[in-house]
Every structure is written in structure tokens, then in C-alpha cells.
């Protein structure tokens, strides 16, 4: 029987594993992204390619070693080179002697036939359409539960009394959601998870800053690729709101665009009326929407050499001026030294805190 794998992106693997197994596939769970993943990825990828291509290359090589022979991944339709990565990965793997099968999902709202064909290929149990829909619905619910737990951890972490408690509880509750199978169990696990996170001892009077995070999807969703930036910010007393979660992205790309997506486009329009590929336009639109909601600052994360985010980066200083919101950009690559990022995040936090206190009529050297 074929063994199937997929890219690792945050905690979403828990959902993908479930649905693939429901359809009758044997799954090789991609291992956490480690130094070894990067070593393999960097070694076998073109030097000029972006970080996500290299990480995925490393993950695929690790999973092939573990026996995977089929890779399920997403394609892409905009002018971003990631749309061609599935083919490129397949070719590199073939050159290395691994003849693997690639199942590439394009947005169903644009390529419905591709979706149907792929689902048929994955449906090893030959279950009915009704059954498949039920599986998808349940997987969707699980993905939502995972996203909801993560969102809450971002709110609780900056307020926790003992540093590290939130991360500890969060890791524990992920296991609960992971174990849940039926919709009832998933809802029950989610309720328990959210309750446990809320139960982390917190200092509710603490002055907490609020920062929005925008940028390229992969480095946004996989903490190992952004040096666990959200956790670092949480420890600095910053509540983060990430502009993108897998559930949101999937909704925008599956059937129709959501109203949220449309408002992002509309917000970005005066600055960037075009699709520049990837999430360049979203980065601008979301920065504006967050500024309007009174956020203290924005952080953009992007892989080094990512064209869509470079376009956004050149426009963001103007948005920053027009809406009086500080913006900090990180271009990420294979470097694992966290010191440079910590220094910038700390300075950025000082900057936001002083700005906020000054607005409240208090003046201190650093905040």
C-alpha cells in the first residue's frame, strides 16, 4: 500500500493525518522541522530559492526515508513561484532516485476538476461522496479547534504570571484535540482546551501591547521557520494577532471569497490595486485594517527574496506614515541565530510602549 505524506505547517498535520487515514491511506507524519530538515533542504535545493521551498525539500526527504511514496500538497495560481514548487520538488526527488507521486491541490473554486480528480485518487476506501463530505466536515472542525486553541494562547501568553505556563498548557491541550475523533469529541476537547488555557494564572492589569502579524503564509504558519517569533513576543508582553490561519486561508480559496478577504482587498486598493502574488496585497490590507482597530504595531514576516512581500515591504512605510502605526519587517532564511531577532523585537516593543505611554501622557526612558 502506498504511504502518504504532506508538508508540515504548524499543528495542521493533526487534521491532515486524520482525514487521510479516514479515506483509507497510510500516513507518514512529517517530523518537526529541525536542523537536519534544514541541512537536507538547503543541500538539495537551488541556492536562490526561498526558505519554504528548502524546508519542504528537507521534510520530503525525511519522510521519503520513512517510507513515504506519495506527497499531497497545494499548488498556487498567482504570480508567486511557490505555485511551481510541487513540480520542482518532484523533479529534484526524481534526480535523487525517489520516484514519488505528487497530488497537487489547486483552489477548487478555480479548478474544480482538479479537486474531484485528487479526492478520487486519495479515496482508497472508495467511500461514498456523502461519507467523504462528512470526513471533510469533521476534519474542518478539528482544524478550527486547533486554530482556536492557538489564537487563545496568543492572548493568554503575554498575561501569564509564570513565564512558560501557557506554552506548557498549550502543548498539553493539542494532545487532547489530536486524540478526538468524532465531531462531539472534537467539540468536547476544544471546550476543555480553551478552558485549560483560560485557567492559566494571569495578571489582567498588566499593560499588554497588541501587534498584528502579516506576511507570507508558510513562514507565518510554521513557528520553526520564524524562530518561534509569536512565543518570543508573548514573553515580551505582546499579544499577537496573526492575519492568517489555515482555516481562513482555506475558506478564501475553496468556494468563494469571504467578506473578510474582500475587505482586505478593498483596504489595500488605494496602495496596491493588483494581485502581486503570494500574500503581498494581504500584508498591506491587513496592516491597514489592524491600524484602524487601534493596534500598537505590525510585524511583517517573509522569506528572503520573496517578491510579493518585497513589493509589500516597499509600500508599507507609506501605510505606516499614513496610519501612524510602526511596522517592522523580518526577512527569514536558514539562519538559526535568534539574537538578532530578539534584539529587534525588544527594541520594537520598547518603541511601541513609549509611544503608547506618551499618548497616555506618561514619559519614561524606555517603557
Amino acid at each position: 500500500m502506498s504511504k502518504l505524506t504532506f508538508p508540515r505547517m504548524g499543528e495542521s498535520w493533526r487534521t491532515f493525518k486524520m482525514i487521510m487515514e479516514d479515506l483509507g491511506n497510510e500516513v507518514v507524519v512529517p517530523p518537526p522541522i529541525s536542523k537536519r530538515t534544514l541541512d537536507l533542504g538547503v543541500r538539495y535545493s537551488p541556492e536562490f530559492a526561498c526558505f519554504p521551498l528548502k524546508i519542504l525539500m528537507g521534510t520530503y526527504l525525511e519522510t521519503v526515508e520513512m517510507g513515504a511514496d506519495t506527497i499531497v500538497t497545494s499548488g498556487g495560481v498567482g504570480p508567486c513561484r511557490a505555485g511551481g514548487y510541487a513540480m520542482l520538488h518532484q523533479k529534484i526527488l526524481k534526480d535523487l532516485g525517489h520516484d514519488i507521486k505528487m497530488i497537487v491541490f489547486e483552489p477548487p473554486r478555480l479548478q474544480l476538476m482538479n479537486f474531484i480528480k485528487n479526492v478520487r485518487a486519495l479515496n482508497k476506501n472508495h467511500t461514498s461522496i456523502k461519507c467523504i463530505i462528512a470526513h471533510i466536515k469533521r476534519a474542518w472542525r478539528k482544524l478550527q479547534a486547533l486554530d482556536n486553541a492557538e489564537k487563545l494562547s496568543h492572548i493568554v501568553r503575554p498575561r501569564e504570571i509564570t513565564r512558560g505556563t501557557t506554552s506548557k498548557v498549550y502543548r498539553k491541550v493539542l494532545g487532547w484535540i489530536d486524540q478526538a475523533y468524532t465531531t462531539e469529541q472534537i467539540i468536547e476537547a476544544e471546550t476543555a482546551a480553551l478552558k485549560a488555557l483560560r485557567g492559566v494564572p494571569q495578571d489582567l492589569d498588566r499593560e499588554v501591547l497588541k501587534v498584528g502579524i502579516v506576511g507570507e503564509i508558510y513562514v507565518l504558519l510554521e513557528p520553526a521557520s520564524n524562530l518561534e517569533m509569536e512565543e518570543t513576543l508573548g514573553n515580551l508582553g505582546v499579544e499577537v494577532e496573526r492575519s492568517m490561519f489555515l482555516t481562513g486561508w482555506t475558506r478564501d480559496n475553496t468556494w468563494t471569497e469571504t467578506t473578510e478577504m474582500m475587505s482586505v482587498k478593498e483596504a489595500a486598493a488605494p496602495y496596491l490595486p493588483e494581485l502581486v502574488g503570494g500574500h503581498g496585497r494581504d500584508s498591506i490590507g491587513n496592516t491597514i485594517l489592524c491600524a484602524k482597530r487601534g493596534f500598537d504595531g505590525m510585524i511583517q514576516v517573509a522569506p528572503f527574496t520573496c517578491i510579493p512581500e518585497i513589493v509589500a515591504r516597499t509600500i508599507l512605510p507609506r501605510v505606516s506614515r499614513d496610519y501612524d502605526i510602526p511596522v517592522l519587517t523580518f526577512f527569514l532564511d536558514e539562519q538559526t541565530g535568534k539574537a538578532g531577532m530578539s534584539t529587534r523585537l525588544e527594541a520594537f516593543t520598547d518603541l511601541m510602549r513609549r509611544k503608547k505611554r506618551l499618548q497616555q501622557g506618561r514619559f519614561t526612558l524606555t517603557g
Binding site: P31, S34, T314, G340, S342, F348, T364
Partner: protein, 316 residues
């Protein structure tokens, strides 16, 4: 008398500053890191203790720079701050209405924008160290010119020479090309200064509104060639403060003074000069990340650990 100590542990230099209650610099010390921060911290403390009058009492300590955690743990700092905040604090006390700070150090270069005394924007070089002190050091060594004379030589230039400044590899091959064509050393050095300034303004300073007063600090501010190139490029005077090379440490000392207003200092005292410190490292095998964890020992006790991505090895 009350005094506050600031320590800036950078890649190239370690600086020690003692300020008094009024914020005036009593003593400032600039030492080369020589790749041995632990020893140099002890040496710097020793020299600092010798250079201040015995009636000064250190009531607070602040550390900054890339080695701020190491120094902070060794001396028992009251405040450990990033170098952007430290530099901004120092510059705004020296030049109260400062609106732009250029800071070029060993491996970092930054621009800090202030309006009405608060930092509103900053940027640091990210993927490239072109134009920082290390590169100038390296070129001075290649040309066998003491780094202290590098800038003055640039001022003697009479013929403009264009050097590529985007990347140090390009810059160096361009310099060699010009030298083999027969250009004079002062002209080449001047070309290099202009190239570095062009690169800095284009890269670190991109999109920033550079308004006067402009303060130029960090080790590279000693280079009058770079200062002149900045003034030429901007058409504005660039101020180099008296203690330009120890501004980070001054900022750290000022932050320490603020921090200890309502608490006792945790400074361990100058006695640590005599304590044995050593560092060790090991690879954690807890997960596939195989983090390299570094430990620092004071006598035989571990006082700090760094390098792990999770909190497993943290010392509370």
C-alpha cells in the same frame, strides 16, 4: 557619591562607562572584545574600578550589546537592554533635540529616528554586514594602514574614485581593481567611504525621513572619512558626540539609573574580577533540533545557559 555602571558588549568592542547622578560621564573605557568576552568583561571591570575614586558607589548596572545577557549574568545587572534603545537614550541625553541617529558598529549598522524625544522608527542591517566596522578593519589590515588613520587618509583624496558598495565582496574586488590600475590609496579609501555611506543610506536608511540634528555614533564614527561622506551625501552637518564610541554603555548606565529608583541594585560588586569563570557547551539530544547549549560557570556553579530553542535548559 552615587554612580551607575553601563556595559556594552559588542562583537568588536566592550565598553564600560560610569556616570554620576547628573548623567555626566566619569569614566569611559573602550576595549577590544578579542573574541573573549568573559575575560574582557573582567578586565574592563578591573580597569574601571581602578579609574574611579573610591568614594563612588555603584548603585545600578545596565548591560547592552549582543553579549548583554552574558555580561548581565556575570555582573548582576539591574537592566539588560537591546542596543537600539540604549543608543537612543544616550543620544537623546547628549543632544536633546536629536531627530536622527546613525550608529555603525562592528557588525551592526542601525538608523534610529526620533521625534520629540521618542523613538518612532528604526532599522538595522539585516542580511549583509557591508559598511560595518569589521569590513573597514579588514581593509585597513589588507592595506597595512592603522585603522585610526584610515579616515584621515580619505580626506586627502583629490580624485573621486567610484567603488561598488552593495556587497563587501564586490567592494573589495573593485578596490583591488582600482589599485592595480594605479589609483592613489587616499582616493581609493575615499571612494570606499562614499560607497559605504551610499549603501547605508540606501539600505538601512531606506524610506526613512532623515531630519537634523543628525548624530553619528558607534566605533565607525571615529572615521572622519565616513563622517565627511555622510555630510556630502546629505548636505547637512553630522554631529559626532564626544563619547561616540561608548554611547551604548552610556545608555545602559542611564537606564540602570532609572531602573534602581525604586529598588536595590543586584550588582555583585567589583569582587567578581577575581572569580574564575568558564564556559562550556553541549548538544542537547532531547529532540531532532540538537540545540547547542552554552553554559557559563561562576566558580563551579552554572549561572546561565543559552542556545536552546525550548525552555528546557533555562535557569529561572
Amino acid at each position: 557619591m552615587k554612580a551607575y555602571l553601563g556595559i556594552d558588549v559588542g562583537s568588536v568592542s566592550i565598553n564600560f562607562v560610569v556616570i554620576n547622578e547628573a548623567g555626566e560621564v566619569i569614566t569611559g573605557l573602550y576595549l577590544r572584545t578579542k573574541g573573549r568576552p568573559v575575560q574582557m568583561i573582567q578586565e574592563g571591570l578591573k580597569k574601571t574600578a581602578e579609574s574611579i575614586l573610591p568614594d563612588y558607589e555603584i548603585l545600578g548596572v545596565g548591560t547592552t550589546g549582543s553579549g548583554r545577557y552574558l555580561a548581565g549574568i556575570m555582573v548582576g545587572a539591574d537592566v539588560i537592554k537591546n542596543e537600539i534603545t540604549a543608543h537612543a537614550v544616550a543620544a537623546s541625553t547628549m543632544v536633546p533635540d536629536v531627530q536622527t541617529i546613525f550608529e555603525i558598529g562592528g557588525q551592526d549598522s542601525k538608523i534610529i529616528i526620533l521625534r520629540n524625544g521618542i523613538v518612532t522608527d528604526f532599522a538595522m542591517n539585516t542580511v549583509c554586514a557591508a559598511g560595518t566596522g569589521s569590513f573597514l578593519d579588514q581593509q585597513a589590515a589588507r592595506l597595512i594602514i592603522p585603522i585610526g588613520q584610515f579616515g584621515e587618509l580619505a580626506l586627502q583624496s583629490s580624485v573621486p574614485v567610484r567603488i561598488a558598495g552593495r556587497c563587501t565582496v564586490f567592494a573589495e574586488s573593485d578596490m583591488i581593481h582600482k589599485q592595480q590600475m594605479g589609483y592613489q590609496i587616499p582616493d581609493i579609501i575615499n571612494g570606499l567611504c562614499e560607497a559605504l555611506v551610499r549603501n547605508y543610506l540606501n539600505n538601512v536608511g531606506k524610506g526613512k525621513e532623515i531630519l537634523p540634528p543628525i548624530v553619528f555614533q558607534g566605533g565607525v564614527a571615529a572615521n572622519v572619512g565616513i563622517k565627511a561622506a555622510f555630510e556630502k551625501a546629505l548636505g547637512e552637518p553630522v554631529l559626532v558626540p564626544k563619547h561616540f564610541d561608548v554611547m551604548g554603555a552610556i545608555g545602559a548606565a542611564q537606564l540602570a539609573r532609572e531602573e534602581v529608583q525604586h529598588k536595590q541594585t543586584s550588582f555583585k560588586g567589583f569582587k567578581i574580577i577575581g572569580l574564575p569563570y568558564r564556559t562550556g557547551s553541549f548538544e542537547c539530544d532531547g529532540c531532532p533540533n540538537v540545540c547547542e547549549v552554552v553554559e557559563i560557570y561562576e566558580e563551579d556553579k552554572v549561572i546561565g545557559r543559552w542556545g536552546s530553542r525550548c525552555s528546557k535548559w533555562d535557569i529561572a
